[in-house]
Each structure stands twice: as C-alpha cells, then as structure tokens.
C-alpha cells in the first residue's frame, strides 16, 4: 500500500493528492490534502504546473505586444484581463480613451463576466456532484456570448480585443440584434437556473455552512470579488473605484450573508443578473464616434509606474506596470485574484470532510492560468 505508517502516530493520516490531474481542480492545480479518515487535517497547494513566466516574457515585448499575454493569464475572462492591462498602460502613458471605446469595453467586460460566472457556477454545482447537467445549462449562454466575441474579434477565448487607447474593432452590425436577443432571454434563463439550483435541497446541504470565511478573515487575507462579497463585505471596484463608464451605469452589488460556499454561488448568480442590467443600459446608451485613440504602435511611456485594477469576474485584477522610458515595460506584474483568493483556502477547508474541501475549492473559482501565469 502507498500509505505509510508513521512511527508514533496512532491513527494513520492519509496524504491524498488532489490534482494535478483531477476532475475537480479545473486545471493543473495540485492540492495535497492530509486526511484523517475523511476529515481534512491539512492542505497544501503545490502550484506552478502552468507557470509560463508571463511577467518575464512581458519585459521582452513592447507594451502593445503584451496584450495577447493577458488573454492567456485568465483564459476564462480574457476581456477583463485585456481591459485591466490597457487601463494600466493608459494610466502610465496618459492616454484618453474615446467614449465609444469605453462603452464597448464595459459591454465586453460585462459579457465576459456573465460567461465566466456561468462557468464558475456550473462547475461549482458539478463539484457538488451533479453529473454535468448544470454546467451544460450554463454553457448554453456562455456559448452565445463566445459567439458574440467571435463575431467581434474572431476569437472566442483569447480575444485580444482591447487595445491601448480603446478597442480593436467596432463590433459588426449583426452583433447588436444577437446581443439584444440574448439579453431578452437572459432573465428567463436566470430564473431557470435559480429554480434548478438555489433551493435544491442537495445543493443546500452540500454548500450551506461549508467553507465559511468571515468578513474579517476575508479582508485580512486580501480576498476579493465574489469571495469577499460572499462574506458580507460590500466591495466592488466598479462602484468603489469606477473605471470606464461604470459611474454612469445603474446596477447593484449583491452581498452574501454567511460567507459560505452557497453565498458565493448566489452572489455570482445575482451578479449575472446585474450584468444583464448593465448590458441593457449599454445597448441603449452607447454613443457613436471613434472607438480608439491615436496611439503610436511603439509606445514609449515616460519613466514611471502605474497600478490599475478592475473588478474582474474573480475579483480585483490589477496590473502594476513600470516603465523606464523604453519600448518595453520594465516590470509587469499582475495581481491575480485567483492566486490571492487561495490565501484563505486552509482556513476554509481544514476540519471538514474531503467532499467539502472540493466544494470549497469549486466555490473559490480558480483559474490555473491566472494562478500560475
């Protein structure tokens, strides 16, 4: 047997590797769990299987060339990453984005949020043990959103759509009817999801009171996004530090009650609804005009540094870019919410069963590309 018998320990703890190849780690993420029976005694995460050294590579490429890298950081929310990076460089170089470009950025960032939350909630219920069904349902809308992306920029996942100073293309005309029909059916779909999952006894039994993290602990551990809000802290950068045109939009910030997995799930579900609200406003109010500022291809911002952050689907996604006046960034750092949200993993999982640990990991909604970069 692979189980070692430690000399003086009476009951034998079992070390189980969850990952790097495991159905519920959503990528090559390895969680080394020490179990006493089914109870988790200790978890240690061993990551880096997907480390591509983005931050080093970015120091070798010009500011514009770095945009495709950001796609691949969080491949489930490429638009958000593009946006955050472009905001940082614009801050660094002092570039003003035309109004239509800003609205388009909001449009695609919110679409991306819906797509990402659909994935997160689907896999979360999957981790609770459902046999793919919720995931497939939520993929339905995600597919439509990815189709919109494809219409606009030709790619579905790694969009590379935002540019420094705006967006790459004005969306084609056929995007708008497709978007409107999607927005029309979204409320029904959301009702359907809610009916299927939110008061499902088994989902409740599996996620209520599981993986609890208090508001104090969440703040101290620098959690952000749905985790922080699930713990009851009303903090959303779209409201707190509005970028683009979010200050002109009307939407609400859902906040959880107990900080358990179920609350995170509900917060994500509600955020999708709010995103639909935002999108409806965007469709109504988007102005005409140019969508991209005149930016030199070989941008050489003056020496300096900038930290720009946005509320990505997973939390505070920040880019810290330092320029030394040259064509490439001197330092390019991504504040990855997936990684930092794992800070509280140990507190959330230790002392509960293995099944709960899996559900908790699912509710954190990690993307390994973003953890490892």
């Amino acid at each position: 047997m692979a189980i070692e018998t430690p000399k003086r320990v009476h009951s034998e703890p079992v070390v189980v590797n969850i990952g790097p190849q495991h159905p519920s780690t959503h990528g090559v993420f390895r969680l080394k769990a020490t179990l006493d029976g089914e109870i988790v005694q200790d978890v240690d995460m061993l990551i880096g299987y997907l480390h591509r050294s983005m931050e080093k590579l970015a120091e070798e490429r010009t500011f514009t060339q770095n945009i495709p890298f950001t796609d691949r950081i969080d491949y489930l929310a490429a638009m958000s990453n593009n946006l955050s990076y472009c905001l940082a460089v614009e801050k660094l170089a002092g570039i003003e984005v035309p109004l239509r470009g800003q609205w388009l950025r909001v449009l695609f960032a919110e679409l991306q949020r819906i797509a990402s939350h659909a994935m997160a909630n689907g896999t979360f219920v999957n981790d609770c043990g459902a046999w793919q069904t919720p995931l497939m349902y939520m993929f339905r809308e995600r597919e439509k959103i990815l189709d919109l992306f494809e219409m606009t920029c030709g790619a579905r996942l790694t969009t590379n759509y935002m540019r420094i100073g705006g967006v790459a293309f004005d969306p084609p005309l056929e995007l708008w009817p497709a978007l409107c029909s999607l927005l029309d059916e979204m409320p029904d779909r959301l009702e359907e999801y809610a009916a299927l999952t939110v008061d499902n006894e088994i989902v409740l039994a599996r996620s209520k009171g599981v993986g609890v993290v208090s508001a104090e602990a969440a703040l101290n551990a620098s959690l952000s996004g749905p985790l922080l809000r699930g713990s009851g802290v009303p903090w959303d950068l779209r409201k707190a530090d509005p970028y683009c045109v979010y200050d002109q939009l009307d939407f609400d910030i859902p906040v959880g009650r107990d900080g358990d997995c179920y609350d995170r799930f509900r917060v994500r579900l509600e955020e999708v609804r709010q995103s639909v609200r935002i999108l409806n406003q965007v469709v109504e109010r988007i102005p005409g005009g140019p969508w991209q500022a005149e930016v030199p291809l070989h941008l050489r911002p003056a020496a300096g540094e900038a930290y720009a952050r946005i509320e990505s689907p997973r939390g505070e996604l920040g880019f810290y870019v330092v320029s030394d006046g040259g064509p490439t960034p001197w330092r390019f750092h991504c504040r990855a919410p997936s990684l930092i949200n794992l800070s509280a993993l140990k507190e959330m999982t230790v002392g509960r069963s293995l099944a709960d640990a899996i559900v908790t990991l699912g509710s954190i909604d990690i993307v390994v590309g973003e953890i490892d970069r």
């Binding site: 047997m1 189980i3 018998t5 000399k7 003086r8 009476h10 034998e12």
Partner: protein, 186 residues
C-alpha cells in the same frame, strides 16, 4: 443422490470448500486469506443447496458473505498495515497434530457409526417450516437469540467506541514509552 449432476456438484464444491480453507491456512496475506474464506463460505452455501436447504444457503450468503466477511474486511482495514500478515505462532506443530487427531477421530466416528434411517427425499419448503418451528417449538431460543444479538450489538458498539480521554491517555503513553514493535511487516 446418485445422479451425475449430484456427483459433479458435490465433488467440485467439496474441492472448492476444503481447498479454500487450506488456502486460508497457507496464505501469508490476511486479505488473501479473507478472499479464501469467502470462497469457502460460498462453497458451503453451494453444499447447502445440494442438501436442498435453500433457505440456509441463502442465509449463508447473506450473513457470511454479505455481512460477516465485509465486517472482517473492514476490521482489517482499520488495523495498521503491519498487522495485516497471517503468520503462525509457535502453536504450529501442536496445531497440526491436533488437527490430524480431530480429523481422524471425526472421520472414524462418521464412517463407523450407523446413522439410522436415511431419508431419500428432502423436506420441501424449508423456509416456511423453519419459520414455523422458530415461533412454535423454538420460540424461547428464538427470543434468547434476539436478546443475544441485541446484547452483542450493544457490546460491540460499547467496545469499539472510542472515548476522547482514552485517546489522549493512550497517545501520551505512546509518546512516553514509544511504540511497541507490532511484529511483522508487509
């Protein structure tokens, strides 16, 4: 019982049963021994069927194969790896001699005794008859068996329950004295 089928069934089942029992005897691995024991149980169940005792055969499978062996496997899993061998003690040779003596004596008695009238046809509908005799002739043993089972259940739970003070005291003693060599390793 002189049909070809009967002969075939009896001899194959006898070989399975005794062979599996010998397998327990020689097996060094407790889990392998356990599998052999299960095989032996199944062989005995087959012999019951041959003896037209369907009810007993099914109960044999249900209780021995379905419950007792699973319980034993569970117990094996709960003990540490080092304790999963199936070695013999110093009683090996006395045991062998005693085994030979017992077998010889029993076989002698079995073969030399006149067992009286031998019934050719089995009694049909065994389950109904057993049930009726259980609650008519044997109602007192039946109740006693029920009490015994309950007592055993309670006793097993009481024994296997693990008090927290026990663990603490035990782990303390372990750290003080060190762990005894549990003997054997696998």
């Amino acid at each position: 019982m002189d049909g070809v089928g009967h002969h075939l069934a009896f001899w194959s089942l006898a070989v399975i049963t005794v062979g599996a029992a010998l397998g327990i005897l020689v097996s060094r691995n407790l889990i392998h021994a356990m599998v052999m024991l299960i095989l032996s149980f199944i062989g005995v169940a087959g012999l019951y069927l041959l003896l037209s005792a369907e009810f007993i055969a099914v109960v044999q499978i249900l209780v021995y194969v379905g419950a007792i062996s699973v319980l034993m496997l569970f117990a094996i899993l709960l003990t540490p790896r080092a304790a999963r061998d199936n070695a013999e003690t110093a009683m090996r040779y006395p045991g062998l001699i005693l085994m030979g003596l017992v077998i010889a004596a029993t076989v002698f008695v079995a073969l030399e005794t006149d067992w009286g009238a031998v019934r050719e046809e089995p009694v049909a509908e065994s389950a109904r008859i057993i049930g009726q005799s259980l609650i008519n002739e044997f109602v007192l043993p039946f109740e006693i068996a029920a009490v015994l089972l309950t007592a055993a259940l309670v006793g097993a739970v009481a024994l296997a329950r693990r008090d927290d003070e026990d663990i603490d005291a035990h782990e303390q003693s372990l750290t003080l004295e060190g762990r005894e060599d549990s003997g054997g390793s696998s």
